[in-house]
């Protein structure tokens, strides 16, 4: 764009394709990001209002009803003691994995395409974990006593039972929620300072940014501390992320239920989490690009293309782990497990099992192999949506459908969801609502990271070809 050097058409093409090679004066870029936050149409407020009403009704009102009346208003029953609540918990924790994957793993491996959307992904982590927390608290019979699960000193010397996978889960999810929130906030500080500098005095936004920017100026010391901290976070949060979903899978794998007691569940769940998480990231990016001002500059087809490749790889890994889990259980020949596998495929919910395979494997493989298709935002949005539906089916099959079959045939009974459908919709609405609110309050694009990347990238001629080079800033 604002470039004065003469360049060949090949270079121009590269610039057009790559955000990192298309630098813009930094003042202008800041302006664009601020503008994207402040440009809000009536449609936004309409959706915002509708979602608020939905959250108030489906999440808080319905949950209140459930707390007062007991879990009887939900569909959970004798063999399926865990219903959609746990499905949603696993689902939302899965969604939250994308944020860490993108911002930590890609940061560690210096994958440059991550730069414009790390924050969008990190926001998903935090907001997804909040929904997972809601889901797991809804699931509890006496939620007002949930603080007993926390290690709090007490006069009875009764502490949580660390034999229980749920206790590990609680520690892991708390760790993950806290660390991902801190990891979201740290790189946000410079951008909040930028927003503070560009907000006129006397507005409430100024106060908001001033408080949150903590007085950040950008001195050498501040940058050094921040960069060191981000490095530590990027490396340390990866094992935390893996541990979280592995431990969630152990909630199932450590149990005596047929079909659950599987050693492959840990990695299988982690890959599944990344699968749905990447799908969700792509959906969010497509929506942000389509609805927010100036976002077409930041989020380009190259990003969808890069995530599409990752999604394809993850989809293949998921299929591998699924097959691994399936064939071992099937070949093992335990009569209850065989009964369960038959129930999955040929039972009344068999359509869900096949739907899962179509959404998670067939459709991604059919579409994502093509570079042009996976660069098309609306198409990859649909793929991401279907992957999320498929992954939700997967969790539904693992939780309530597998619970139908146990070692006491007398108790077998199909699960029919009740109020938890509303509550699930409520968490989804709350997730979108939080995201919408965040998109108007904090810069969705990590401006300083994009600017840093643009500074580090250059074009260089080698022989007859101009290639992209990246310098090591750190």
């Amino acid at each position: 764009m604002a470039d004065h050097k003469p360049h060949t058409s090949h270079e121009e093409h590269l610039r057009e394709q790559h955000l990192m090679l298309d630098p813009m004066p930094r003042g202008k870029m800041n302006e664009m990001v601020m503008e994207s936050m402040h440009t809000t149409s009536w449609k936004f407020w309409l959706v915002f209002g509708l979602l608020s009403a939905l959250v108030a009704y489906a999440l808080f009102y319905k949950w209140g009803v459930m707390i007062l009346e007991g879990l009887g208003v939900a569909g959970v029953n004798r063999p399926s003691y865990w219903g959609i609540f746990l499905v949603n918990t696993v689902f939302w924790i899965g969604i939250s994995h994308a944020g860490t994957f993108i911002s930590a793993i890609l940061r560690v491996f210096k994958a440059e395409f991550r730069r414009p959307f790390t924050r969008a992904a990190e926001l998903m982590t935090t907001f997804g974990l909040i929904q997972a927390g809601f889901s797991i608290f809804m699931h509890m019979g006496r939620v007002w006593l949930s603080y007993w699960l926390m290690p709090i000193p007490n006069e009875r010397q009764l502490w949580p039972n660390f034999h229980s996978p749920l206790s590990w889960d609680l520690l892991a999810i708390t760790t993950y929620l806290l660390s991902s929130t801190m990891y979201l906030f740290l790189p946000l500080i410079p951008d909040l300072a930028m927003a503070r500098d560009r907000t006129p005095d006397g507005t409430w936004q100024k106060v908001f940014y001033r408080v949150l920017a903590l007085g950040f100026r950008g001195t050498e010391g501040e940058w050094t501390h921040l960069r060191n901290a981000l490095n530590i976070f990027a490396f340390a949060i990866i094992p935390v992320m893996f541990s979280v979903h592995t431990i969630v899978s152990w909630d199932f794998a450590m149990a005596t239920r047929p079909g659950w007691n599987s050693t492959i569940f840990g990695p299988y769940f982690v890959i599944g989490a990344l699968h749905s998480g990447m799908g969700a990231v792509v959906m969010v990016l497509a929506v942000v690009r389509g609805t927010m001002k100036n976002m077409k500059y930041f989020i380009r087809p190259e990003h969808f293309e890069a995530i599409g490749k990752l999604m394809l790889i993850i989809s293949m890994s998921w299929a591998y782990f699924f097959f691994n889990d399936y064939i071992v259980q099937w070949y093992g020949g335990d009569k209850w497990t065989k009964e369960l596998l038959h129930w999955h495929e040929a039972g009344p919910m068999g359509w869900m099992w096949f739907g899962m395979l179509i959404c998670n494997v067939a459709i991604p493989w059919a579409i994502l192999w093509n570079k042009k298709w996976r660069s098309t935002p609306w198409l990859i949005f649909i793929v991401g949506l279907l992957i999320n539906v498929g992954m939700w089916f997967e969790r539904y099959i693992i939780v309530p459908i597998s619970l139908t079959i146990n070692r006491m045939p007398f108790t077998w009974r199909l699960y029919q969801p009740g109020i938890e459908v509303w509550l699930g919709i409520g968490t989804l609405a709350f997730f979108i609502l939080l995201y919408m609110a965040a998109s108007r309050l904090i810069p969705l694009i990590p401006v300083w990271e994009v600017q840093e990347g643009q500074m580090a990238h250059s074009l260089r001629k080698y022989g007859r070809e101009t290639v992209v080079t990246v310098s090591e800033l750190e």
């Binding site: 007991g70 029953n77 004798r78 007993w148 146990n406």
Partner: protein
């Protein structure tokens, strides 16, 4: 520092677990499936009356149930024996370690499984992990007369020795621990040990066919221990290694 495993009850407890203290023998040859045990248990232990809709949806809350199975297709149906199913009071219970709040624990004094209602937060993990599916969850406030006015008249028949549970709490068979305590208290006040047959559980007491026998399984001369040594004796899902305290006598 050396850790005395016996002091930590780690080694000693496991060896002891294999034996148990209280035990039950159910003779499937004698069981007629009359459900007297189910009714007696409900009366003794304040088990809520779950309405038709909930019961039909798999939420009946009985601590003991009579399972019945049949073989073959409709007119040529062969009924197999009735199988009363209750908490097996496992020595190594899968339900216990999974509770994050220590609400279901192993009583070291009585060698049975306990459900501590007031500690339960309702994660329902124990019920999921119970291979026998004998735990029942209070889905609603079935016994609160403010919620269900029709229960008010039933409130007078509550057993004062057993807690009345409220919504969101898991519960299960306790081997009538209130009766155990009562008998032990009486024996202690008289300065003696509890005698075999001095008391029994509600289900065993109510069984018209005497199919259920309860007593000290660790006293070799007690009736329940003698029956448990029968060649017909079998344990449910023994392959899981749960060390059940309830012995079934097979047909034959």
């Amino acid at each position: 520092m050396t850790v005395d495993l016996n002091k930590l009850h780690a080694v000693g407890a496991i060896a002891e677990e294999a034996e148990g203290k209280w035990g039950m023998v159910i003779d499937m040859d004698l069981c007629t499936g009359c459900q007297a045990c189910v009714a007696a248990c409900a009366m003794e232990n304040n088990i809520p009356y779950v309405e038709e809709v909930d019961a039909g949806y798999g939420r009946s809350m009985h601590w003991i149930r009579t399972e019945r199975f049949w073989e073959g297709e409709y007119p040529e149906v062969k009924m197999s024996a009735y199988q009363p199913m209750l908490c097996q009071q496992c020595g190594k219970a899968p339900c216990e370690p999974v509770c994050p709040a220590f609400a279901t624990v192993h009583s070291q004094a009585e060698q049975i499984n306990l459900q501590v209602y007031n500690r339960c937060v309702g994660t329902r993990y124990c019920a999921n992990n119970c291979p026998y599916q004998v735990r029942s969850f209070n889905w609603r406030d079935y016994q609160d007369s403010r919620v269900r006015p029709e229960i008010t008249i039933l409130a007078n028949q509550f057993n004062p020795d057993v807690t009345v549970r409220r919504r969101g709490v898991m519960e299960k068979c306790t081997f009538c621990i209130q009766r155990i305590h009562k008998a032990q208290d009486k024996a202690k006040s008289e300065g003696r040990e509890v005698e075999d047959g001095e008391f029994t559980t509600a289900c065993a007491q109510a069984c018209p066919a005497n199919a259920i026998t309860f007593g000290r399984i660790d006293h070799p001369e007690s009736l329940v221990a003698q029956l448990a040594r029968s060649p017909r004796a079998a344990h449910h899902l023994e392959e899981l290694g749960t060390l059940p305290r309830v012995t079934y006598l097979k047909e034959g």
